[in-house]
């Protein structure tokens, strides 16, 4: 398999070949490529599940799936996209790019890095296997709320253990990222100078270490409730189903930022490059990212406004949630200010980054709408919520990932992607994304509940529009796959600095990046956001 373009890489010392190279990998670039390819495969699997959902919802009534199976589809779509696609993709990018951007020889714990990756396929195998066990896959929604999750068949047990394994994987991956950034920066690459992508990865990794164990605790309690006689989530035994929601969302809300902060980091690298201007307000970006990291622990119960919590708690969580709009607004302002009077060009990475800003802001604003407790009582559990989080996760996280892959593809592979296909991919995705998800706002406002395979007749037209959009959006992702596969072999040879405005450390390396980079650290003179002013030394290979 041609993984991230290896044809053109010059031969380096002790580099294994064949399957051993991937199975026994300790090289951050190899492991990064594994992560990225795995994430893309899972993106396709999760996407097919989404298309099944949209096919069923094309018409009212039951067409293809019984409600039980439909619930399994929505559950597995969510779990696979969150844990199998988006998180691994960001970890893969961090693996690939962080050492290049901060001048490290590799990740701090190279062997553990490989374990982090290779735990993903078994975990996803357990998840997918659950479709064929008696009772089918978990069908409680990706949130796995009790009491449903306590009552389901053994697919739920497979899901619980899959989540345990995913937790181990992402905690180790996150520790690796944190330690690499803290301890392996090249001389001159100060904390308040390193690229925003490194800052975003650092805060994200910290969030992962803090909340994945909490999720592990939550699903462990579900497990003991199911099989060992405890009643954590059963009032008859002295427990409380609401407890599950609190523990889950204490994980779940920071998890939202785990999928958003790296996107902010990517956009903060891409926009300055194509605006040919330094990032506006770097220091405020760092503080905004950090404060989002802190605030994300204080807002979880806004997912639970309809559980009957006291009004004081509702008010606290409502205002705390609104507060997050402030640092997020700082970021959006800074990106726009970076572009202001910039000498902009609109290659594919820039298009996806601008699309990100536009659509993520829409998703952010619908988030502020939902944060108002009184409004949320109406919209909770409706398609408005589905529209909101797909604006921040698809147009947010996913668009930023596309931006990043196009942006760093030349450095990774030594070849250029096909620009026209990239442009087509962007405009196609932008159009059909909105066709798919914008009508869901209206559906939600009109009262259509989420996670239900059937609906009242008056919702038909918007659902049909959304379903057509979804299939077209899905089709468009094949453009991306074709572009990548073609360019790996036949793309034009890329220059060392394919983007005129790219002046962070990775662009100082030869193209494609040598198999071992910075085995001896360079001496750097760095300006804000990792812009390299001068560099001395730094051996490769």
């Amino acid at each position: 398999m041609a993984i991230a373009g290896l044809a053109a890489v010059p031969q380096q010392s002790h580099r294994p070949h064949g399957w051993r190279r991937w199975l026994f990998a300790t090289n951050h670039k190899d492991i990064g490529s594994l992560y990225l390819w795995f994430a893309f495969c899972m993106f396709l699997v999760g996407g097919v599940l989404a298309l099944c959902i949209r096919a069923e919802l094309f018409r009212p009534g039951l067409q293809f799936f019984q409600p039980e199976l439909f619930n399994q589809l929505t559950t597995l779509h969510g779990l696979i996209m969150v844990f199998g696609a988006i998180m691994p993709a960001f970890t893969g990018l961090a693996n690939w790019m962080l050492p290049l951007m901060i001048g490290a020889p590799d990740m701090a714990f190279a062997r553990m890095n490989n374990w982090s990756f290779w735990l993903l396929p078994p975990a996803m195998a357990l998840l997918l296997l659950s479709f064929v066990v008696p009772g089918g896959a978990a069908a409680a929604g990706w949130t796995l709320y009790a009491p449903l999750s306590v009552q389901l068949g053994m697919g739920m047990d497979l899901t619980i253990f899959a989540i345990h394994i995913l937790g181990v994987s992402s905690i180790m991956g996150a520790i690796n990222i944190v330690v690499t950034i803290i301890n392996l920066r090249a001389p001159g690459m100060g904390m308040m100078k390193m690229p925003m992508f490194a800052w975003a990865s650092l805060i994200t990794a910290y969030l992962i270490i803090a909340v994945m164990p909490v999720l592990a605790g939550a699903v462990t309690m579900v497990l003991t409730d199911r099989h060992f006689g405890t009643h954590f989530f059963n009032a008859a035994g002295g427990g409380d189903p609401i407890l599950y929601q609190h523990v889950f969302w204490f994980f779940g809300h920071p998890e939202v930022y785990i999928m958003a902060l790296p996107a902010f980091g990517i956009v903060s690298q891409v926009i300055p490059t194509f605006a040919r201007k330094p990032l506006f307000g770097y220091t405020s970006m760092v503080y905004a990212t950090s404060s989002i990291g802190v605030l994300s622990f204080m807002v979880w119960a806004h997912h639970m406004f309809v559980t009957g919590m006291p009004a004081t708690a509702q008010l606290f969580f409502m205002y705390a949630t609104m507060l997050i709009a402030v640092p997020t607004g700082v970021k959006v302002f800074n990106w726009i200010a970076t572009m202001w009077e910039g000498s902009m060009s609109f290659e594919t990475p820039m298009l996806f980054a601008i699309g990100f800003i536009l659509l993520f802001t829409i998703g952010g604003l619908s988030g502020v709408t939902l944060s108002v407790a009184a409004v949320d009582v109406q919209l909770h559990g409706s398609y408005y919520v589905v529209a909101h989080f797909h604006y921040v996760l698809v147009a947010g996280a996913l668009f930023s990932l596309f931006s990043a892959v196009y942006y760093w593809f030349p450095k990774m592979t030594g070849r250029m992607y096909v620009e026209r296909l990239g442009q087509l991919h962007f405009w196609w995705s932008l159009l059909w994304f909105n066709v798919t998800f914008f009508p869901m706002h209206f559906l939600g406002l009109a009262g259509m509940p989420r996670r239900i395979p059937d609906y009242a007749l008056q919702f038909t037209q918007f659902n049909q529009i959304a379903s057509v959009g979804a299939f077209m959006f899905g089709l468009g992702q094949l453009i991306f796959l074709v572009n990548i596969l073609y360019s790996l072999r036949h793309g034009k040879t890329a220059a060392q600095q394919p983007w005129e405005g790219g002046n962070t450390l990775e662009w100082r390396l030869p193209t494609p990046a040598p198999y071992h980079s910075f085995s001896e650290a360079p001496q750097l003179d760095v300006a804000e956001n990792g812009v390299v002013v001068a560099m001395q030394g730094g051996k490769h290979g």
Partner: protein
């Protein structure tokens, strides 16, 4: 700040390709699959579980063996040592958060669920339930049980763990001052105290389960008691295993005043487990 020295950044140790991680992934797959089958009463599950456990043990022996070999072979210098320390610190932080989830469950059950279940609204459902802590029955009246008494075995166990922290620190001084005999003895005492703690906890559990009818299903009290102390007990077991490995390495002459990360990591872990126990003693047994 990136810490640099003449051995540091220039030669940061990047290990050669290794088959241990993939083996570890196979092990966890077997453990997950086997556990899912086993809890659903399938005999096959136990075999898969056992297989996974064996593979995991093999992996741990091999992987740690490699790391110890590299350490003894002088492959690690200042920067690697700092990476290890940061890594261990963040790992312990993740453990703190894991315990946090279960402590949160305890506090929620006591402070929120219990008063609600005892309130007038619930009299229709559970007319005989009285909201006192520790509970004497579950709301849907199971068999009555007795709560744990703090000042018997648990107090002794607190004393044992606190003493083990002292003996471990004494061993640490021995290491830093180059007194190997003190190091060996201190570690041995710590391990024996740790295992003693576990034995007493086993006795305590047995008594609670049989004589006091306190089971996992015994309402909010029983489940939080077993889950919190059980999770802690597992950590004492793991901590003892780590200390045992460190002790065996000391017997082989590993570690000196400068290079003893494994000892420090084990000590940090042990103190962490100690602090968790103090919280448990206060919130589970005393209050």
């Amino acid at each position: 700040m990136a810490l640099l020295d003449e051995h540091g950044q220039a030669h940061y140790f990047v290990p050669a390709p290794s088959h241990w991680p993939v083996l570890g992934a196979v092990a966890l797959f077997c453990l997950g699959l086997g556990a899912a089958f086993a809890v659903n009463g399938m005999l096959l599950g136990w075999w898969v579980l056992a297989l996974g456990g064996l593979i995991l043990l093999r992996m741990l022996f091999g992987w740690f063996g490699d790391v110890i070999g590299e350490s003894v072979g002088g492959r690690y210098h200042g920067q690697e040592a700092l990476s290890f320390r940061w890594g261990m610190g963040w790992f312990i932080f993740s453990e703190v958060m894991l315990f946090g989830a279960f402590f949160a469950a305890l506090f929620w059950v006591r402070q929120v669920a219990l008063p609600t279940l005892g309130s007038l609204d619930y009299k229709l459902l559970y007319p005989d339930f009285s909201a006192s802590w520790p509970l004497q029955t579950a709301p849907a009246a199971g068999p009555a049980y007795q709560a744990m008494e703090a000042w018997g075995l648990p107090a002794l166990n607190t004393l044992i763990l606190l003493s083990s922290a002292v003996s471990l620190t004494w061993a640490h001084w021995g290491l830093l001052l180059g007194r190997r005999a003190q190091l060996k003895l201190g570690l041995l005492i710590t391990i024996v105290l740790g295992l003693g703690f576990l034995c007493l906890q086993a006795i305590e559990y047995h008594h609670a389960w049989t004589a006091q009818q306190l089971t996992l299903s015994a309402g909010g009290y029983g489940m939080t008691f077993y889950m919190l102390t059980g999770l802690h007990g597992l950590h004492v077991l793991l901590g003892s295993a780590i200390l045992l490995v460190v002790w065996l390495r000391v017997l082989r002459g590993h570690f000196d005043q400068q290079h003893h990360f494994a000892f420090e990591a084990a000590a940090w872990y042990w103190h962490f487990v100690d602090v968790v126990w103090l919280l448990l003693f206060v919130f589970v047994y005393c209050l």
